[in-house]
Symmetry: C2
Amino acid sequence: MADTKLLTPGPVDVPDFVMQAIAKPVIPHRSPAFEAFYHDLLRDLTYLFQTQQQTCCMIGSGTYGVESAMYSLFRPGDQVMIISMGKFSQRWVDYASILQLDAIVIDKEWGQTVSISELAEVLKEHPGCKGVMITHCETSTGVLVDLEEIVWNLKQVKEELLVCVDAITSVGAVPFYFDAWMIDCAVVASQKSLMNPAGVCAFALSTHAEKHMVQTHASDARNLYNYIDFARKHNFPYTPPVQLLYGMKASLEYIQKLTLPTIWNQVHHKARVFRNGLAEIDGVLFGADYSSSLTAFSLPGSDLSEIKEKLEKDFHIILSGGQGHLKGQILRISHMGMSTDQDMRMVIDRIKQLL
Amino acid sequence: MADTKLLTPGPVDVPDFVMQAIAKPVIPHRSPAFEAFYHDLLRDLTYLFQTQQQTCCMIGSGTYGVESAMYSLFRPGDQVMIISMGKFSQRWVDYASILQLDAIVIDKEWGQTVSISELAEVLKEHPGCKGVMITHCETSTGVLVDLEEIVWNLKQVKEELLVCVDAITSVGAVPFYFDAWMIDCAVVASQKSLMNPAGVCAFALSTHAEKHMVQTHASDARNLYNYIDFARKHNFPYTPPVQLLYGMKASLEYIQKLTLPTIWNQVHHKARVFRNGLAEIDGVLFGADYSSSLTAFSLPGSDLSEIKEKLEKDFHIILSGGQGHLKGQILRISHMGMSTDQDMRMVIDRIKQLL
């Protein structure tokens, strides 16, 4: 297994320096040592999100994180605009119904993006709308929305609109500026650009978002207000995943050392190498407005399940297939994490061998 | 840090064989390899819980796990009996109010246990009561309730009562028989007797409990029905914490090899060694009906904060203090995990030096 290339758009291979950090001795979380550590981790997260506002972490998958954000920001009956354009953004529509939100769903065909003017129009028609749920990069299709432009236009229509962003496959891979883009809540998960095992999600939260939360100290492990309140004291309201936070810290230090622009360029370059190579294997990019985080593509005339299986069995290269109705129609490859241009080139060559 | 003894009642020291399992290469979770692995893990969990019924895992702290169980089993307006006898069981009272349950709270002084006849009486007075929340071992006080007797008596009054147990500090440390004791839902967390980093919780669920769940496939990361449904196909509805599950598997294999009765005896013996030693330092056991998982004790006339601090600084021994209004009044030491009789003896000797 050691030379397997895990190139799925999350999880990605965990580098040795992260695993070594995770293997450090356990410390109790109600201790000055943990608090000093978490203080520094929260500061490192402000760099990742490009924010001067509040950051915090939670045990959870990315889905858990986004659901917690929705639960913490909105109340039953609140009107919320949701852009649905793939498997993950569809989840927020599902969950809005469970939270009994009044969801205005902007439904896009999978692979298509949303038009900025369309969103602003919908918001004008619904002046009571309290917030918007935007999936920055839709992992099931590779589509990236123009977050900066969208938020700018929406806030021109309604300044106090709460903008909540699923940034799981975008932060750390493509440019993302929490403060400059006027975002109110953003969620990332550990197993994508942070190159960690799955299990932790992290948040950036604006002071505006915080004002809209139910400010209670009742035990409720999904209420972000509890996490923020404890984060100010550099601790957690519930047992934190200390080992996994060690791993995340190691990754954040790596990112700061390289700097975000350098990493964004590396990811972008890997995406370009792979997409340039697609022509050689008659590959077709899926959808519009691609993120550099991953590439979704088809190989007309080829059996994708067979190719995916052979890549794994013969060459130890692991890609993802399509999800939902795209199963068997696309393959997806990640450009996040420690993979290299050479890896991208190699995948093209291996597919060529299999065609 | 390498020779630090972490003796808090969770987290406990993570043994090397668990860390080595966690450091194994990442595999994608939508794969036959993951499914074969999770199949085996679920089977190992049936041994831990002593059940032939359904098991599943979730990313989460223990608190998250218990809240998810409550959320999945009960609806707003449902009448639920809750035994509150410490910091953790009080959380379930808080959360019942958030879920808008009609909670009948059996309020006990911290350190006291509940009387079996009292519970049966309360249930008789509330024939519409749908379930009961029991904290098997209350980590803030060390009190263990007689779960077998309680459930037996309650089910004599109402057979269909849903019995939901916080077994976080009990399973793997003291006898626990999910099926034989007629429990419907039990929750454990990774950082206690499973000797893993915090981040995963595991459940056992009766078929009776499952029938009472909202059987929907809408995305909702707190709904246990989704996890059970996927567990039958040996997978997760959301990204699983693969690395942490590797660690849990290693620990479950260790437990099976030693056998549960052997481990229960080890834990019990460590508790006895420590409690026998208490006389030498004029220590006083706190409360009644102690679990072998941990000992809560006071040292009349001594400054506990100072002793706790010196144990850490001078001897690298980490204990827990009291929580809530017991802060500064008790110390707590764990008997779970890989610690030994000699460790227990050593703590007594070190405290003696400090008095």
